[in-house]
């Protein structure tokens, strides 16, 4: 077992025992489900909308080469510097290079999972720069020195009380249980940071090829301030963010909002197409767009699972996943958790190290059912399992399946197997749940049903 796998198992055992955490997450996500369903119902035809979205992303991803060049050319035409990064290291070096060149001291950031993926904050801080997260949830987890718990709700594992304590400790604010007051405490700190920051770093929700613009979706206005106030703006995005046409946003913006948070639309949706143009009153003097591959092209080369690049990072699959709901976001140990994380992490970070995430699924398919762009998530988990076993089979597991095939295909052996089982079961009962019990993984928490005295086939044979 890889270290990552044993950490996952250990953490899962710990988290499933934490009933308070399980209740907290379940309550939060149940509320989400209620509003999400209301918003979906407001669509004239939700299944048709999903189909249209899936087809648009299919077109975008299957012609990524053309769309990316179009996107970059359009941006460059308005004076944006476009950078191409094959790896996380390259992306970090590009951004560090810009920050150093500008002799920046302070950096303000809006939410970007891609920056988590390449550990940008650590790199910037190690190089001596101050980085402040401006999204409230991200601001909170940054104060706790934690990564985001969930790709859309970074601090959903914390209660108001815990946030109040954190603010009191770190920001010396007076304790409060009012969400508005907590928001105001963060705002007072952040407003100063926007003004003093030399550089603003953002992610992107969509990259519109036709017009060369990035689209950012948010609820707090923090991304707008991050983009508008500092002199230099840097946007870091994965190459899969492409949408072919501007009009595609008419579908994707509400779809992202409904699936992500259960809102009809998020409060702010902004398009950025370049640095401040002559005659314009605001906007950054310099605009850099960093396009990140980081093994996405390997996923692109896999025809079977290419649709995983359709993902718009709405988090809907995490929200409905019974595994996620019981083990929580940190157990995965990945930037992208939940079903989509289990599907793509083996591609992004190595199959053998991360195959356990594909095994840790009951294959219930709730993720696939909810995905707004119709990624075949739970079947991709099956494919990852197959690929992992093909590449590096487990000796014992393969032997067990081979032996089972021999027995299952021969009625006489199958019959003997049942008889032996009936003889062994009373003995197993004596050691049930102890370390000696070969069925301990099951019997530690569950009874095993008794083997029937007369099996169906015994009955059938007697009857005919």
């Amino acid at each position: 077992m890889s270290t990552f796998a044993s950490q996952f198992t250990k953490q899962a055992q710990r988290m499933t025992r934490d009933l308070r955490h399980r209740r907290l997450i379940r309550t939060a996500l149940r509320n989400y489900e209620v509003v999400r369903d209301q918003r979906r119902a407001a669509f004239q035809d939700w299944p048709a909308a999903r189909q249209a979205a899936a087809e648009t992303k299919w077109e975008a991803i299957n012609h990524l080469d053309r769309h990316l060049v179009e996107f970059a050319d359009q941006l460059a035409a308005r004076g944006t510097k476009v950078h191409w990064a094959s790896t996380g290291t390259q992306a970090r070096d590009i951004i560090l290079g810009i920050v150093r060149e500008k002799k920046a001291r302070s950096i303000i950031k809006s939410k970007a999972m891609t920056s988590e993926e390449i550990h940008l904050n650590e790199a910037l801080e190690q190089a001596g720069f101050e980085v402040v997260e401006s999204d409230l949830g991200e601001f909170i987890v940054q104060l706790r020195h934690e990564p985001p718990y969930h790709i859309v709700f970074p601090a959903m594992h914390l209660t108001r009380g815990e946030i109040s304590e954190l603010f009191a400790r770190e920001l010396k604010s007076a304790p409060t249980n009012e969400p508005e007051e907590l928001t105001m405490i963060a705002r007072r700190v952040l407003r100063k940071k926007y003004i003093t920051a030399d550089i603003g770093i953002t992610g992107a929700n969509f990259a519109v090829a036709e017009t060369g613009m990035i689209s950012i979706t948010e609820n707090e206005g923090n991304a707008r301030l991050t983009a508008a106030l500092p002199k230099v703006m840097i946007s870091l995005l994965g190459i899969e963010k492409i949408l072919p046409r501007l009009e595609d946003l008419a579908l994707f913006l509400p779809m992202l909002a409904v699936s992500g948070t259960g809102q009809p639309l998020t409060c702010y949706n902004t398009l950025y197409g370049g640095p401040r143009q002559p005659g314009e009153a605001d906007g950054p003097e310099e605009f850099h767009v960093v396009l990140l591959d980081n093994r996405r092209t390997e996923l692109l080369a896999d025809a079977e699972q290419r649709d995983a690049l359709h993902c718009i990072r709405c988090g809907a699959c995490l929200n409905v996943c019974p595994i996620f709901r019981n083990v929580g976001g940190y157990t995965y140990g990945t930037t992208y958790s939940g079903p989509i994380g289990s599907v793509i992490t083996p591609h992004l970070r190595g199959l053998q190290d991360w195959k356990h995430l594909s095994a840790a699924s009951s294959l219930c398919g709730a993720c696939t059912e909810t995905c707004p762009v119709k990624i075949d998530l739970h079947h991709h988990l099956l494919q990852n399992r197959r690929n992992a076993a093909r590449q590096k089979p487990s000796f014992f597991e393969r032997l067990a399946h081979r032996a089972f095939a021999v027995i299952a295909n021969r009625p006489a052996l199958w019959s003997i197997g049942k008889k032996l089982g009936r003889l062994a079961q009373p003995l197993q009962r004596l050691i049930q749940g102890t370390v000696l019990d070969p069925a301990r993984a099951w019997t530690k928490t569950r009874d095993l049903p008794p083997l029937a005295k007369e099996s169906f086939k015994d009955w059938w044979r007697k009857r005919s």
């Binding site: 499933t16 595994i323 709730a366 076993a389 089972f404 299952a408 009625p411 569950r446 083997l451 015994d458």
Partner: protein, 238 residues
């Protein structure tokens, strides 16, 4: 018509009464039931674990035995999904590809067969109890079976169906998953069982015994009086 019955391995060994009930119901409706003894398992455990060659070793036997069967009825949504949905993938680009597609087209999960194929919902059953229904994920999401078992239960006399809030939430069985990740599987099962208990039902009914085996195993440990029962056993009660 002649119906070929596919009794999955664990139904044969652990829950014969479900299989017997299916035979009784189909015979009462005037059909001839045959059951090839040479079939034990559909090959799903190996398939789901990623061992597709080993899965094919089991599944190829199933295909050979079902080659001439006109109509196959299987007593499990999960094993039904394996044959109907996954065999065509498992046998793609093999000599059995065509046969896998044919068998896939001729196999029915039990409740789907009664309602969709035979158009029967009232089997004259009586079951005086309050029940809640568990949708097994494979039956629900791979085969799209949701209304069929409810249409059948609606016609059972003296039966009261109360839906649980987590009816469509996975109970955490998931085949080998239950043994590979017992802590997660158990936590999921606890959520499911709590939701079922909340309804005040006497029974959890399902068309998937593998899920019920897991739920009953947990309920017993919790000391709960709630029982699990296969849909066919409910429908066979007169």
């Amino acid at each position: 018509m002649t119906i070929t019955l596919f009794i999955p391995c664990f139904v044969d060994a652990l829950f014969p009464r479900a299989g017997i009930s299916v035979v009784q119901i189909l015979e009462r409706l005037g059909h001839k039931v045959v059951c090839p003894e040479e079939i034990a398992c559909c090959g799903q455990p190996a398939f789901n674990s990623g061992y597709w060659d080993e899965s094919r070793a089991v599944a190829v036997n199933v295909l050979a035995r079902l080659k001439d069967a006109e109509t196959v009825v299987i007593v499990s949504g999960s094993c039904g999904a394996m044959v109907k949905k996954f065999y065509p993938q498992l046998f793609a680009n093999t000599p059995q590809a065509e046969l896998a597609k044919q068998v896939s087209a001729r196999i029915w999960e039990f409740s789907d067969f009664l309602v969709t194929q035979l158009g029967v919902t009232d089997l004259g059953a009586r079951f005086p109890a309050k029940v809640t229904f568990h949708d097994g994920c494979h039956g629900l999401r791979e085969l799209g079976i949701k209304k069929q078992p409810r249409a059948l239960l609606a016609k059972v006399r003296d039966l009261q169906l109360v839906e649980m809030s987590e009816a469509e939430t996975c109970c955490g069985f998931g085949g080998t998953f239950a043994a590979k990740f017992p802590a997660i599987s158990t936590a999921m099962g606890e959520v499911k069982c709590a939701s079922a208990i909340e309804t005040g039902a006497d029974y959890i009914v399902s068309n998937d015994l593998s899920c019920l085996m897991h739920q009953q195993g947990l309920l017993n440990r919790q000391g709960s009086k709630l029982k699990t029962i296969h849909l066919a056993e409910v429908l066979a009660q007169q």
